[in-house]
C-alpha cells in the first residue's frame, strides 16, 4: 500500500488538506487504529495528514481553565490522561478508563482524539472477506454470524458498539468536544458528538469533511460528586469492553442530587443510562437499591441471538458501580 504523508504546521493547513480531499485524506496521530485499518485494507486513504507536526496549543496538553474546567488537547496520549493527577483527583472515572485501556504500548502512542474517533471493532467490518454495509457492502454479516460483542440497543441494520472506553467516561462526566474547521470552532456536548447507524451507516460521529476534533473539556468538578469506571472484559489487558459503565453520583444531605451514568458495549454510541439516572435522582441514599438502579440501566434491550448476556452484565455492572459510589459518598 502507498499513501502520501502531509505534515502541516498549523491547524488551518491541516483542516484545509482534509477538506480538499474529503474521500481520500485522513488525519493521523498515534496511528494505533488507523495503521491497522490500512494494513487490513479496511481503510485505504491516499493521503495521511499528520497532526503531531502542528504546534497549535489547543491540540496539546492537559490544562486547568480559568473557570475551573479541565481542557484536554486531542493529542494528549492515553498514558498522559491516566497519569494526570488533577484528572485522578477530580474525574477518576476518566483516569480509570484511560489506565485500563488496551496495553501500555497503545496507551503510550494512542491519543485522546484518536481514541474517540477510532472505528468499530466488529470483526465483519474489519475482515477483508466480509465487506459489510459499513464498508459499502450489501449486508450485515453479524446478524447471521457471531454477534457476541455487538450491541443490545440502538442497532439499525448495523449492530456495532462504540469501542472507546474514554468516550463512556467522558459522557458520564458531561464533557464537551471542541471541533475545529477552516470556518472556525464549534463546541458540542459529547453526547451529541457520537451518532449511530440510524443517522449514518458509514460514520460514528458528527465530524464533517475538513473538521478535526481538537480538544475535550471537562466541566468543573462538583465537590460532592464521586465517579467510577468499571469494565467487563475477557482478559485483564489488551481487551475492549464487553460492557462498561461510567457513573458520577453526588448526594447532599442524604439525597442523590446528581446522577450521570453511561454504558459502553451496549449501543453503537456511548449509552446514557437514563433509567438509572431517573431512579437515583432525588432518592434518599438510604432508599437506593443498587440492584434496581442497575436493572433500569438499559431500556428495552433487543439483544442478538448470542449477546443476551450483556443485559444482566450491564445491570450487574451498574449495580456494582452504584454500590461502590454510595458507599464512598457515605464515608
Amino acid at each position: 500500500m502507498t499513501f502520501r504523508l502531509l505534515q502541516p504546521t498549523s491547524l488551518a493547513e491541516a483542516c484545509a488538506a482534509l477538506a480538499d480531499a474529503p474521500d481520500d485524506a485522513m488525519p493521523i496521530a498515534g496511528g494505533t487504529d488507523l495503521l491497522s485499518e490500512i494494513r487490513d485494507g479496511t481503510s485505504v486513504p491516499g493521503t495521511l495528514v499528520a497532526l503531531d507536526s502542528i504546534a497549535d496549543a489547543v491540540l496539546w496538553g492537559i490544562a486547568d481553565t480559568d473557570d475551573g474546567a479541565v481542557r484536554i488537547g486531542a493529542l494528549a496520549t492515553i498514558a498522559d490522561i491516566a497519569a494526570h493527577e488533577g484528572i485522578r483527583d477530580r474525574y477518576i472515572a476518566l483516569s480509570q478508563a484511560a489506565a485500563g485501556l488496551a496495553t501500555p504500548q497503545v496507551r503510550n502512542l494512542g491519543t485522546l482524539g484518536g481514541n474517540l474517533n477510532q472505528r468499530p471493532r466488529c470483526w465483519y467490518y474489519r475482515h477483508p472477506l466480509t465487506v459489510c454495509l459499513k464498508r459499502g457492502g450489501d449486508r450485515c454479516f453479524a446478524v447471521q454470524g457471531v454477534g457476541k460483542y455487538l450491541c443490545i440497543t440502538g442497532g439499525d441494520r448495523c449492530f456495532i458498539v462504540h469501542p472507546s472506553d474514554i468516550a463512556v467516561a467522558l459522557t458520564a462526566l458531561g464533557a464537551t468536544v471542541t471541533i475545529t474547521s477552516p470556518a472556525g470552532q464549534r463546541t458540542v456536548p459529547i453526547e451529541d458528538y457520537f451518532t449511530g447507524p440510524d443517522v449514518d451507516l458509514m460514520r460514528e460521529n458528527i465530524l464533517r469533511p475538513g473538521e478535526l476534533l481538537t480538544a475535550v473539556t471537562l466541566p468543573p468538578g462538583r465537590a460532592e460528586s464521586h465517579s467510577i469506571y468499571l469494565k467487563a472484559r475477557e482478559r485483564e489487558s489488551g481487551d475492549f469492553a464487553l460492557v462498561s459503565v461510567a457513573a458520577a453520583i453526588g448526594a447532599t444531605d442524604g439525597v442523590v442530587t446528581n446522577a450521570s451514568v453511561a454504558l459502553g458495549g451496549v449501543a453503537p454510541v456511548p449509552y446514557r443510562a437514563v433509567g438509572t439516572e431517573q431512579y437515583l435522582l432525588g432518592r434518599a441514599v438510604a432508599d437506593v437499591s443498587p440492584a434496581d438502579a442497575g436493572a433500569a440501566a438499559v431500556a428495552d434491550p433487543r439483544p442478538l441471538p448470542d449477546n443476551a448476556y450483556k443485559v444482566p452484565m450491564a445491570a450487574n455492572l451498574t449495580h456494582r458501580a452504584i454500590s461502590i459510589l454510595l458507599a464512598a459518598s457515605a464515608v
Binding site: 472477506l129 457471531v146 472484559r233 482478559r235
Partner: protein, 761 residues
Amino acid sequence: MATIPTTRLSIVGRNAPRRELPDKLSGAAQYSADIDLPGLLHGVIVRSPHPHANVLGVDASEALALPGVRAAVTPADAPSVWLAPDMPVLDTRVRFAGDEVAAVAADDLDTARRAAALVRVEYEPLPFVTDPVAALETGAPAIHPQGNLAIPEPLALQRGDIDAGFDAADIILEERYHLPTHSATPLEPRAALASWEGDRLTVWKSTRGVHVDRDVLASVFGLDTGRVRVIGPNMGGGYGNKDESRMAVLAAMLSRRAGRPVRIEYSREEEFVAGRTRHGGRIDLRIGVTRDGDITAIHGDAILDSGAYQATAPRVARRAGQGMLYLYRCPNVRFDARPATTNKPVSGSYRALGAPQGHFALETLMDRAADAVGMDPLAFRLRNHVPLEGQAGPRLTPPDEIVDGQPVEGGIPFSSNGLEECLRRGAAEFGWDEPFERSDSTDPFIRRGRGMSMMIYRGGVGDESAAALSIDTEGKVRLITGVMDVGEGAVTVLCQIAAEAVSVGYDDVLPHFADTEDTPNAPITAGSTATFSTGTAVMQAAERLRASMLAVAAERLDASTGELTIADGAVFVCDGPGRRISYAELARAVEPEQLSAEATVTPGSPDYIVNSFGAHFCEVEVDTATGRVRINRYVAAHDSGRIINPRTALNQVEGAISQMLGFALSEELITDEPTGVTLNGSYLEHKSPTIQDFPSITTIFADVVDPVGPMGAKGLGEVPSVGVAPSIANALYDAVGVRFTRLPITPDRVLDALRNRAKGR
C-alpha cells in the same frame, strides 16, 4: 567401570543454564526468518478466499509482469506428489478459506504481496461444511474423494465388556462435551528459507523435525535424501505445532524457478489461519459406578474437527482416548473416535494433542461420579486411580516386544507411577482439606471454588532415536543428535545427560543438533519424547564411549580396565594415586574414531508401560456480575521421573498451565458458519491470556526415579497441559453450582449458565 553412575549426580538434577540463553538475551540468536542470503527473495502465498471451491484457472501473468517479481508457482507447476495422504503439493481444489493456491517471489515483501494480489484465480465455489458432526452425515459436501472421515476406519478401542460393566453399575452418568478449536499462538510465525546450488537443496525452517522435512522435500523434487539439507535454527515456540509441509516445498519451488534463495514467512494472521490448530469437536462420555464408588465401565465417543486435511488426526484421536482407557482402574472401557474433515483451518498437533480434550470430559464427569456416590473428588480419585500394577486383564503384546506408551490391554505394570504421591502431596500443598470461604465479605457477586483433576500421558517412549558422542583433543565432548530443540530446552537437558554420562563438566559438552547434513536420523520433537528417547540414545552412546575410553586408558596406564575409574574428565587407576590420563590426553593419543561412539535405540521397555502422571488443584474466583473467571491459586504435582533440570521443568509446567488457561477460559479460533472465513485470526481477537491473567503456580515434582528412563527421567513437556481445563471447570462447579460442558468458559457463557440455572429454580 563403564557403567554410568546414576546416583550422586553432579549435573543432572541441577539448574544448568539454557545453552542458547546468552544468544537469545543478546539478540544474536538466529531464527529461521533471520537468516539472510545474497539475492534473497521474499515469497508470499496466494490463499483461497472460499472455504470450498474448484480452482478452474490460475493466471500469474499480471503478477509476473510487475517489476521485481521473479517467480510464481501454480497448481499447474506442482509435481504430482502427495505431501500427506490427502494433501498434494498444490491442488485444483481448495478446502478452507486460507488454503494454498499459488505462490510468488519478489525482491521485497511489499512487491511480493502486491504480486500475490495480482494472481488471477478463477474459482467455482462449492457447498461447504464447518461442523464436524454435520460433515459425517450422509449428504454432507465431500471434501476429499475418500469421504469426510479423516482416518481410514473409525477408531474403536476396548478392554473388557462395557455392556456388562454398565449392567453392573448402580449409577450411570453421561454428558456431551463441546471443545473449541484454538491456536497455539507461537510468537514466532512459521518461516522457511530455501536455496538451491545445482541440484542440491538447503532449507532452514521453523520445524519440529528436520529429517521428516528432508524426506518430504526429497520426494517432491525426486532427489536422494543426501541432496537435501534441512537445518533447524532457533525456534520461537513449537508446541508440537509446526508440522505443516507445504511452505518449505513452495519456497523451494519458487527458489528453483527464480534461481535465487526464497524465504516465506507467515504473517501473524496466516499463522492463525494457515498454521495448525487444536482439534475441537464433541465428546460423549458415559461412566458407570457402584454405590460404593467403584467404576464399572467407561465409554467415550468422540467426533473431532480435523479441519480441511487429515494432518495428525489419527494420533490426536488416539490420544484423546487414553485417559478414558487408562487413568482409572476399570475392567470395562471403550473409546470410539471419528475425526472429520471440515472446510476449516487445518487442525494438527498442539501440546498433548487430544489429551486435554479427552481429560476435560473425563475429569469433569468423574467429579460428578464422585458427587453421585457421596465422595470427595480427591478421595474418589485416591480410591480409583490406576495403580503401579496397571490394569487388570491379559497382556496382548508379545513378551519381548516394547510396550506401547498408550496401551489398551491390561496385564502390564507401569515402570513407575507417582499418581498417588501427586494426589497426596498436591492436596497437602493446596490445603484441600482445609476450611474454605466461598463468598466474599465485601462483594456479594464474588464466588470462590476449588477443583482438581488428575492426568496420565505417554512417558516419553518415542520412535527410533540416535545420538553420537566423541571426545576431541581439547577434552571436550561433542554431542550430536538430529533432534530439534523446539524452544523447550532439549539441547540443555541432553547436554546435562551427556555431561553426567561421560563425567565431564556441563560446559565441556559441545552440542550439534538438527541438521540433516551431519546429524543422525531423528524423529520429530513431539509426544514429550526428546528427553526420554534421545536421552536413552545419549546414555547408550556414553556407555560405549566409556568402554572405549577405558580400553585406550588401560593400555596407556598399563592397567586392566577393571582397575580404572572415570571421573571429572579423566580416567584413573583406582589405587594408584597420580596414575591418571585426561580425556584430552586420551584423544591426542589415538585416532579420533577410537574415542567416538554412536547409538541408535528403540526406546521403551518390553516389561513396563512408561507413563507420566500429574494432579492439579486450583482455586477460582467467579465474578457473577460479569461472568469473569480468575484463578487465584494453582498447584501442580507431577511425576515425570527424575527431573533433569528443575528450572526448565518448572518452565514447562508453568508454561503449559498458562497456555491452557486460554483453552479453558478464553481462546477460540472462530469460523463464521455462513461464510466459512476465520473471524479472529489475531492476538487481539483470539484471546490468549496475558501475564496479568496468570495465577501464582506452585509446582511439585514427585520423588520418582524411573527404572527405564535415562537417568530415571520420563516425559514432561505436554503433560501439565492435560489437566488444566477440568480442574478449572470443577472449581467453577464448586463456586457456582454449574457444570460447564463447553469450552472456553467465557463470561457470556458463565452469565448465560447462571441465568439458566436461576430460571430452572
